[in-house]
């Protein structure tokens, strides 16, 4: 039970992921029930499309969730190095220790999936009952509690377990002698990563960018160009994710320099680079969310502001429908950002937990409580700003490339990217909200660190 509490935020991530997937599938199923009851045709095709969209967004959300979970797992393990080393010293094989941690992942994933699915089913049942009561939904068959709910649940259990397996890799490298070492600071994280990983990342980015460009260039003559562009986007973004430890730290370092004359800001910036891999991954989760939001934001804004006016005689989508589509797409793409936000909370909270002595030392030699609080908030802001910068840049590129490939053939004038004020506001305000909310708990905890904690011997 103690383990579950330590990983309570990971349970939350699993629950969010499975609830998200289940709600989407329930919506699709309820829609099919409504279409059947209303006597519409092609129900199976439409439901198939809705299910497909659900699985794509569920896949994206679970990918972000897996990054967050693996990161939390490896952070917790980094904090437990001494205990693990002691177990190794006393004869526990590394493989068995790792299996135990992977087993925890199975438990965490199962509990999260159970909670998430239950919540989603509750939302679905209540929603259908209310809509039927109000007469919005006609009498008919609405399959809420159906076997399809198992799909997101099982997917969450599997990804969570896999994430724990990946995140616990470090257990294999804990040396028994570390139990005896007197240095408190863990040995620095290996910054170089594997060369293969870097090469793969750069290759994916370069090839992906080339394919993306090909899609854009050929868009005037071919209707299939958008598929080429999508392939390019997917390849290059996979490259960015694989090489996060390569691309994110320089941006973090740059953002960390802003205002580094202030000691609290200086220390936040340094701290983000203490475990560059870990901060990169925490930031990367947010980057994925922001990129998705901005990509769709640019697509929709360019369609409305550039394409529709150019094709004046053909009526565009009605205003209301467009607003509804925007809302749904924003929700679907923004959900990954919500999961990523939990990752930022984790990174900060564990950071404070594992740095109590360091914070005590700073307090002893003259860091005020207010400075300590500032340090934590700035850490969150630096991560969010980095994610906003990277995500917006990527999103604008992908959104622009996508629009040009889709509609470039129909419009003569060169297309420039557009972004609605709503999207900008959502991303910036949402980002700052995440930063503030993420730092609330850790800030409360940092205030409770007494200067005398620096003097504790253990």
């Amino acid at each position: 039970m103690n383990t579950l509490r330590e990983f309570s935020s990971t349970v939350l991530v699993a629950a969010l992921g499975s609830a998200f997937g289940a709600v989407m599938l329930i919506c699709s199923s309820v829609f099919a029930g409504w279409a059947t009851a209303s006597g519409l045709g092609q129900v199976a095709e439409v439901q198939g499309l809705l299910d497909f969209i659900s699985y794509v967004f569920l896949g994206l959300a679970l990918y972000v969730a897996a990054i967050v979970t693996a990161n939390t797992c490896s952070t917790v393990i980094a904090g437990r190095t001494r205990v693990l080393a002691l177990q190794r010293l006393l004869g526990a094989p590394a493989g068995r220790l790792r299996r135990a941690i992977t087993g925890t992942g199975l438990l965490v994933g199962a509990v999260g999936a159970l909670i998430g699915t239950a919540v989603a089913a509750g939302i679905g049942l209540t929603g259908v009952a209310v809509l039927q009561d109000r007469g919005t939904l006609p009498e008919g068959e609405y399959a809420v509690l159906a076997p399809y709910l198992l799909v997101p649940a099982i997917a969450v259990v599997l990804t969570t377990t896999a994430a724990f397996f990946v995140g616990s890799r470090r257990v294999l490298t804990v040396r028994p002698l570390e139990a005896l070492s007197s240095t408190v600071e863990a040995r620095p994280e290996d910054l170089r990563g594997s060369r293969l990983r870097s090469v793969t990342a750069v290759l994916l980015v370069v090839v992906g960018a080339a394919v993306l460009l090909l899609g854009v260039v050929t868009s005037a003559g071919s209707t299939g160009a958008v598929l080429v562009t999508m392939a390019g986007g997917f390849l290059s973004f996979t490259g960015v994710t694989v090489g996060a430890a390569l691309f994110v730290p320089p941006v973090l370092a740059l953002v960390g320099r802003i205002g580094a004359g202030n000691p609290a800001v200086l220390l936040s910036g340094r701290n983000a680079l203490r475990a560059p891999g870990r901060s990169s991954r925490a930031t990367m989760g947010l980057v994925i969310g922001v990129t998705l939001l901005v990509t769709f934001g640019v697509l929709l804004a360019m369609y409305q502001q550039r394409i529709v006016p150019a094709l004046a005689e053909e009526a565009g989508v009605p205003e209301e429908t467009f607003a509804a589509i925007t809302a749904i797409v924003t929700f679907l793409s923004g959900f990954s950002a919500v999961i990523a936000a939990v990752g930022v909370v984790n990174a900060l909270a564990l950071g404070v937990l594992q740095r109590r002595r360091e914070i005590g030392l700073l307090r002893a030699v003259g860091f005020t409580g207010a400075q300590a609080r500032t340090m934590i908030v700035v850490e969150a802001v630096q991560m969010v700003v980095t994610a906003l910068v990277l995500g917006t840049a990527l999103g604008v590129l992908y959104g622009w490339a996508g629009t040009v490939s889709l509609f470039g053939g129909l419009v003569d004038a060169p297309l420039t990217p557009a972004l609605s004020a709503g999207t900008v506001l959502l991303v910036v305000v949402g980002g700052l909200l995440i930063a503030v909310l993420a730092s609330l708990g850790p800030v409360r905890r940092v205030t409770r660190v007494a200067p005398t904690e620096a003097l504790a011997v253990a």
Partner: protein, 247 residues
Amino acid sequence: MTHSTSPVIRLEHVTKRYGGTVTALDDVSLDLAAGEFTAIMGPSGSGKSTLMHVAAGLDSADQGSVFVDRQEITRLGDKELTQLRRRRIGFVFQSFNLVPTLDVAENVRLPFVLDGRRPTREEQQRIDGLIRRLGLADRVRHRPSELSGGQQQRVAIARALATRPPVIFADEPTGALDTRATREVLGILRDVTREEGHSVVMVTHDAAAAAVADRVVVLSDGRIRDDRRGLTADQISSAVLALEASA
């Protein structure tokens, strides 16, 4: 307790309890003279660490008054206490003295940085001198994890001395070091402070370490049991052992 100069630390009838039942300090009065190296000794739980925490503004007294450099600190708020520690007290702890993300030079400059200012040219010269003197000149760009335990303690001493505080508190500064590094760190602490006129208050359970001090104060059960000058390590050992035997 008769001193010609005014004391740098003064405790007047200080009492400190934990959880209402454990009395860590029981009506302790003590004057520590400027420029003097004092060792605070005593068995575990004697109150020696509490004495240091209260005298250094790291913890508050329940009763009595504490003066640092003639300023009463008993009723100061957290912010004023933090400022006092930053400007007028130097600290050397047993381990984990340095901020791991800052290099040696940055750690030494930390009290200035926390004060929101750069060292003046004179202060920087003094810092450079300290770094050279402590044999850290070729280490200024190194992170603490790249240094030996003895080197880390020397950096901590340089940081403690950087702002020229009237008093330096050292809590078991050699507790995590081997014999050679212990001798080296104690020698530096004694020589540098003697030359520069700093007061040093060192909490230790090691009689050999306490022997470098000008004065040895022995605590047990929250009270001062012995307070003498010019003792040898053997004399200190037997004094502490006698206390432990009677406890």
